[in-house]
Amino acid sequence: MTEVPIAPDERPQRRREYSGPASTLGLAALVIAVVALGIWFFQFRDTTPGASPQSGYGVTAEPDGPNPTGKAPAAEQGRLAPNFRLPAPDGANIALADYRGSYVLVNFWASWCGPCRNEAPDLEALSKAGSGHGIAVLGVNQQETADAASTFAAQFELSYPLALDRDGGVSDAYRVGHGLPVSFLLSPQGVIVKVYVGQIPHDEFARIVQEYGT
């Protein structure tokens, strides 16, 4: 007769058993790795762009010419502004480099942004007042449709050019997030001379013309 235990294990389901690092701690590590994978999967998986980037648009190389800062372009005061090329609502191309030679206020905006709506009449006034003084205004719409941008322009009777940053790439390059509006005043050499976070105070527009206008 074979050797048999005197008593069976009465509560095996309550017993914990160590059977080496691989099958206990290792298995636990595997479970945790699966959780981490799950987090990664849900967090980063669904980043399929809604719109395929249009070739030729977005941040582009700087135009030929001197770089007075001696540093790479960056969205900071005193640095060369990142160059970009974007479509207008009517399909025309707008390139920041085309504004070299005059001051330009690059205004990031969206029609859902209340302060942007409040600021639009002042920007239009600056555009008109500055046109004869070497100051231009360029609006960059953040990820809205051409219809939304056109409706906004018609509502406020805007005459300055509006560019569509459909995939947010230019906003990202300028580190402009949800907190709109944000504006960058660029020198004729393309250097950022001032950054305005939020709505530009009404009185500042007159000062811009006075200080930078020719």
């Binding site: 007769m1 294990d9 914990r16 809604g50 809205e144 949800h178």
Partner: protein, 566 residues
């Protein structure tokens, strides 16, 4: 028959394997109690101490200002408390680390249970030593006719799985088992706990939840803070409050357009039935009807302000007054907006007085009007109203007790809370602080209108689509009241795990507590049958065995009291 000890001996001496030491700690009950206690205490700290508001967490300046405000309460302890993370407990490394250790401990405990449980189910101890029949807690011994065949037949009738394990010296050994799989119940419960933690982790780190307030006809609003190809926009096409014939609200729903790049999903969201788009659930979370569409144009006709005026649920209490002419016709019945305000000296604002004008036609259709000054203040949470005729003394109007002036009966019918807010940066503001007070009462026909103070010497009354020009030459137009919905955009990857975990926990606990697992060893000799077994959740398994003996025809099986039902 020889006997051995039951437990498996450790393969190596404790301490020789560092992993075993870690394992020992993670499966130690005292350590588990300390961990859970520490987690509970940390949670308690996070509830007791004020916590940094979420939006300030990434804004260093706002964070610093918030911490400075805490110095008035915590004094010199503020800095060390801040360094310990006590003002942001749930986002500190030590709090997350604590829960990480809890999760590892639960994982290790759960994993460690599986092997012995599975072995017990698949390869149970089929034979026990004879001594077990003498010493087992649940046992019986009796003499009956029919021998081993009768015992096997009875056990199978009782749904036991029966097998003969050996026959030695005229004795037959049986092993019988019922519901062996129920041992997995405890494992399932532990696995549920682990899944619950997994779900919580996924929700915590990969979940998303933001509520947007979107009014009808306003531009699509972005969901995420940062622009990018994955940005989603939600546009309100129609925020709707459904009512039945009696005017009772029966449902809220929002027709939405959800866009990501060039892809558009149009759907209807309600509170219980979300719209699904791009991996997110879009729910109706609230409904508002205190949003006004508002526009200002300059003297040249250019739009200088075109925006929605969101009253953000801010209100002011105003009286509702009805005036009945001597001929019995009602000539006025509506809310009285606040047209002037005289602050009092009392700190509790009980002496603050709001003033309005009660202006009504002498008769329906009459071009002649009577005007009384109406003033009120809030005293003991009640709005106290006084009506003053021109050149007369004020008369107090009591709620529900009409007063009569010049033959007109004036009923103070109640109090309404109407939308009221102060707006900054409105063109044409003439106040010192640049703010304009705007109220949105309803008229006698239930139509909303705006009352603006601060753009003219007098208050401006703006009826829908009837612009009024202020003192600075700006034209103010109320373009109608807008319905708006609070729209919740969510992604909760942990939700599914949590539902599964709850189901698993319920099934596991039900199995553990309610499935009558039985494991039985029987020794049948020509003279006597011995039974001994294991049955969790009952102390009367021995009685069950003796009753089986009685069913088999044994006269010596039962003990006194065995036939009494528990």
């Amino acid at each position: 028959m020889a006997a051995t000890a039951p437990a498996a001996a450790p393969a190596r001496p404790p301490g020789a394997d560092p992993f075993r030491t870690i394992w020992g700690l993670l499966t130690n009950v005292k350590f588990a109690v300390v961990l859970v206690g520490a987690a509970a205490f940390a949670g308690f700290l996070g509830v007791v101490f004020p916590q940094l508001p979420g939006p300030m967490r990434t804004n260093a300046a706002a964070r610093s200002a918030w911490i400075q405000l805490r110095r008035s309460d915590f004094g010199v302890l503020t800095t060390p408390m801040d360094r310990l993370g006590l003002f942001d407990v749930f986002h500190t490394a030590w709090f997350n680390g604590l829960w990480f250790v809890v999760i590892i401990a639960v994982t290790v405990c759960t994993v460690s249970r599986f092997r012995p449980t599975h072995r017990s189910v698949r390869s149970p101890t089929r034979q026990v030593a004879d001594g077990y029949f003498v010493h087992a807690h649940h046992r019986a011994a009796f003499t009956h006719p029919g021998g081993v065949a009768a015992v096997e037949a009875l056990l199978r009738k009782k749904r036991f799985h029966v097998e003969r394990t050996s026959e030695v010296s005229g004795a037959t050994y049986l092993f019988a088992e019922r519901f062996a799989w129920s041992q997995y119940g405890t494992f399932l419960s532990h696995l549920a706990l682990l899944l619950l933690l997994v779900g919580a982790l996924l929700t915590r780190f990969a979940g998303f939840d933001r509520t947007l307030v979107l009014a009808n006809g306003t531009p699509a609003f972005p969901v995420f803070d940062n622009p990018g190809p994955g940005q989603i926009f939600v546009k309100m096409m129609d925020a709707h409050r459904g009512t039945d014939a009696a005017g009772n609200v029966i449902d809220f729903h929002s027709d939405l357009e959800v866009r990501r790049g060039d892809q558009v999903v149009r759907c209807t969201a309600t509170v219980n039935s979300p719209c699904k788009a791009f991996g997110y659930r879009v729910h109706q979370a609230a409904f508002f009807n205190d949003v006004a569409d508002f526009r200002v144009t300059d003297s040249a006709g250019h739009v200088v302000y075109a925006n929605v005026l969101d009253f953000q649920s801010e209100t002011t209490a105003v009286p509702v007054v009805r005036v009945t002419a001597p001929d019995g016709s009602v000539v006025f019945d509506q809310e009285l907006p606040e047209l002037d305000f005289q602050p009092g000296a009392a700190a509790d604002h009980s002496e603050d007085v709001a003033v309005s004008q009660l202006r009504f036609p002498k008769a329906i259709g009459s071009g002649e009007f009577l005007t009384y000054t109406v003033a009120w203040r809030i005293l003991n949470n009640q709005l106290r109203l006084a009506v003053t005729p021109a050149g007369g003394d004020p008369l107090e109007a009591i709620l529900g007790s009409p007063i009569t002036l010049d033959g007109y009966r004036i009923d103070y019918r109640g109090v309404d809370n109407i939308p009221a807010i102060r707006v900054n940066d409105l063109p044409g503001a003439i106040t010192n602080d640049g703010t304009v007070a705007v109220q949105m009462p309803t008229d006698g026909k239930g139509q909303p209108y705006l009352v603006m103070s601060g753009v003219d010497g007098d208050n401006l009354f703006l009826e829908s689509n009837r612009p009024v020009v202020g003192i600075q030459g700006y034209s103010y137009a109320f373009e109608g009241r807008l319905a708006a919905s609070g729209i919740s955009v969510k992604r909760d990857p942990g939700g599914t795990f949590i539902w599964i975990a709850v189901a698993m926990a319920m099934i596991g606990l039900s199995i553990t507590f309610y499935v009558p697992r039985r494991r039985l060893w029987v020794k049948v000799t020509p003279d006597r049958t011995l039974m001994a077994g294991i049955a969790e959740r009952t102390t009367r398994f021995g009685r069950e065995l003796r009753l089986m003996g009685a069913v088999l025809g044994a006269e010596d099986a039962l003990l006194p009291g065995d036939l009494q039902e528990p």
